[in-house]
Amino acid sequence: MLEMGFFVILAVVATVTAMMVIAQKNPVVSAIYLIVTLFSLAGIYLLLGAQFVAIIQVLVYAGAIMVLFLFVIMLLNLEKEKKLVARHRLQRILGVFLGIILLGQIGLIFASVFPEAPKGHFPMEKVAALGNTEVVARLLFTDYLLPFEITSVLLLVAIVGAIVLAKKQL
């Protein structure tokens, strides 16, 4: 019952703030609302028993990525960009229309296909006994070691690429 209450509160907060993100004219306000959305998603991850993901969500998303966003918004002078909603009326109607159609399609898929996949080896009690972070780390450094290392290469490439793109001249 308590879980349901928390879920409803967090889901409503996430949905409303996500709407505000795309409805706000000022990108700074959008970014602040997006941070609230990310925090409520972190709360939902806690409800799902994914403590490690919840902490990473707050640290990486709400912390690093959103600070980067705010930093760029402040570096750019966006005074005349504030009323940049869709210029064409047709585009606005089509955007809402296609969004609703997509929602209906995803909803249909979720309603019709129930996952009958074989259960994994980590029921919630076992994960709780071992500790979520330890279980994630153990898998990450054994079964998923190669993707983990490739991720570090990806981040390195992203750093180099960002510097090359943002520098005035090399």
Binding site: M4, V21, A31, L34
Partner: protein, 100 residues
Amino acid sequence: MVSLSSYLILSAILFSIGVGGFLLRRNTIVIFMSIELMLNAANLAFVAFARFLDSIDGQIFVFFVMAVAAAEAAVGLAIIMAMFRTRETVNADEMNLMKW
């Protein structure tokens, strides 16, 4: 006990809001935030499936998605900076240099 479908419906709603923002807004920074919103909706679906299928692999995938999102944000914002330097705008309609 919250069912799997409630999490999936929330994920679908967030994803659709992201798509709507992507289609509606012309400010590239807000378009970027919409992309982040969609990535988060996918992450939520991953974590929900991981929880209800007694598996931990979904959470690890979320870890990778976040790493990709971080890389994407860094490179994308660098592109926006470079674009703003040459064109003095972040309007997606005016970024048509590569358009034939």
